[in-house]
């Protein structure tokens, strides 16, 4: 029988290397994708997601089991991503400097670097689909880090409002407001309004 994430985490706290390897294999894809979606940089996503696993190894004993393991781990990961964004923001702004990358009314401080189009999932999808995806990720790039995190946690991980609130350390009402505003912004940017 397959062990639950929570049991594996308890074993990691007892320095069970095999349990740690199993958790890494279970979560590596989701962790990397989540980090990449927030950071939009492959190298940073790799580095930050690995850092999240290192923190997991070091602080597994502090997982109390009150929340699901995934919620606890995503919280760790999302915090690292948001910290990373704060750290790299200054040089992104310098790099964007004179080209006027910031759009009017864009308060997120994002630059062209943040707006790299997401890679296409399937080469057969065609140019139109690819353009649409690029446009969507450009729009996602204009959201504030918190709004972006909420949209990604909702869309990709399909987490409940309560879980997202736990991860972002805010109220459920705040999560709903973030998601509502983010979707309204995306809708407007995509020209559907």
């Amino acid at each position: 029988m397959e062990m639950s994430d929570e049991v594996l985490c308890q074993r990691v706290a007892d320095r069970d290397e095999a349990a740690f390897d199993q958790l890494v294999e279970r979560y590596q894809g989701r962790a990397y994708r989540l980090a990449w979606s927030i950071l939009r940089d492959a190298e940073e996503a790799r580095d930050v997601s690995q850092e999240a696993f290192i923190r997991l190894y070091q602080s597994a004993a502090s997982f109390g089991g009150r929340a699901r393991f995934s919620t606890w781990f995503y919280r760790l990961l999302v915090n690292l991503c948001l910290d990373q964004r704060r750290k790299t923001k200054w040089w992104r702004q310098i790099f964007a400097g004179s080209d006027g990358a910031g759009r009017p009314g864009d308060e997120s401080g994002e630059t062209l670097l943040d707006r790299q189009p997401a890679p296409s999932t399937d080469p057969l999808e065609g140019m139109a689909k690819e353009r649409e995806t690029d446009q969507l990720w450009t729009a996602v790039g204009t959201l504030s880090p918190q709004q972006r995190a909420v949209v990604i946690l909702q869309a990709q991980e399909e987490l409940s409002t309560k879980e997202i609130a736990t991860i972002l350390k805010c109220s459920e009402a705040t999560v709903r407001v973030h998601l509502h505003r983010a979707l309204i912004t995306l809708r407007r940017t995509m020209g559907n309004e």
């Binding site: 590596q28 690995q50 070091q58 995806t133 409002t161 709903r176 979707l183 309004e193």
Partner: protein, 168 residues
Amino acid sequence: MSDMDSRHPETELIAYLKDELPQRSRETVARHLDGCADCRSTLTDFRTLLAGVAATTAPSVAWQRYRAELRQRLESEAGRHRWSWWRRPFPVAVSAGLAAAVLALVVLAPSAWRDERRVVDGLSGFEEAVLGTRLDMLRQYPVVERLDLLEDLDVIRQLDGLEARRES
């Protein structure tokens, strides 16, 4: 349509989308959607947008290499923690030295100060005793007063002689 049903649901639309509304509120939003084309369109757009974000995949990763790198980082982190005290001997030595100095100051300084006071008091007592033995000499003060002027060693010898005769 009641007032409640005619109000455009905003954040409730998100909760409706996520199927997180209580039964009664869910029915209210559903009734509103039946009669409001704008909200129906908004809901459809929200669903499409979330599906678009969900459909995106991150760049591919060589997972074996990813795990090997992770293992390497983990080992170097563990090594750093294990040796962190010994890899920084200078700050540790300085801190320990400072702590010892402060401790010595706190423990020894008051007693040394007391001893010093005792020595000062002792010296003045000693001086008093010496002066006491020289009382006779002080009685010859007019002679003593002029000693440095006269620089007459014979007078001093006489004084010593006087004392010797008194003792005998």
